[in-house]
Amino acid sequence: GAGVSQTPSNKVTEKGKYVELRCDPISGHTALYWYRQSLGQGPEFLIYFQGTGAADDSGLPNDRFFAVRPEGSVSTLKIQRTERGDSAVYLCASSPGRKETQYFGPGTRLLVL
């Protein structure tokens, strides 16, 4: 079956611009996670959705970052006023339930110039 998909695969933007990153989870998965992976580092947690609601947003670095999942399926990570330090690979994962294995998408590579 289809895995987690993320679009775009690559995004280049200028400092100060707004970007949206999309995640399509595996069909039927109720839990969705966003992580950020900087060069040479392991992924770092950003936010977790159970259904439509954000159950844990403790990893969002500041109020420029926001994520939504309005219908409990597709999720969008939104970054306002991008900074060069936001450059990273943004990973999305989904799982059938809150205690199940997380399956990762290929990631969106964001470069802020």
């Binding site: 987690v4 392991g42 947690f45």
Partner: protein, 114 residues
């Protein structure tokens, strides 16, 4: 809160040699433990996991890891590596209760030389 330390950022080995990738964790609560693998130009894939029961867990491609609670370790081993095992390996933990997020180590790049 949890943290994970992978002691080696890079591990070069010769083909058919044994390998051990080390992982230590810190946590104030009981945890589940995972190893994820990232092959070149691919996404993260689950390699194996420890949830409960036998402390020795195995993957389908010959890797194994042993949960050692007293040493707070979950080292990954393979008795004989292949060129196709070249990848980055990430150790991760998640609390049994509470937060559902995975906490990852910084990764170990395994390079297999012929």
């Amino acid at each position: 809160a949890q943290s994970v330390t992978q002691l080696d950022s890079q591990v070069p080995v010769f083909e058919e040699a044994p390998v051990e990738l080390r992982c230590n964790y810190s946590s104030s609560v009981s945890v589940y433990l995972f190893w994820y693998v990232q092959y070149p130009n691919q996404g993260l894939q689950l390699l194996l996991k420890y949830l409960s029961g036998s402390t020795l867990v195995e993957s389908i491609n010959g890797f194994e890891a042993e949960f050692n609670k007293s040493q707070t370790s979950f080292h990954l081993r393979k008795p004989s590596v292949h060129i196709s095992d070249t990848a980055e390996y990430f150790c991760a933990v998640r609390g049994v209760v509470g937060a559902q997020k995975l906490v990852f180590g910084q990764g170990t790049r395994l390079t297999i030389n012929p």
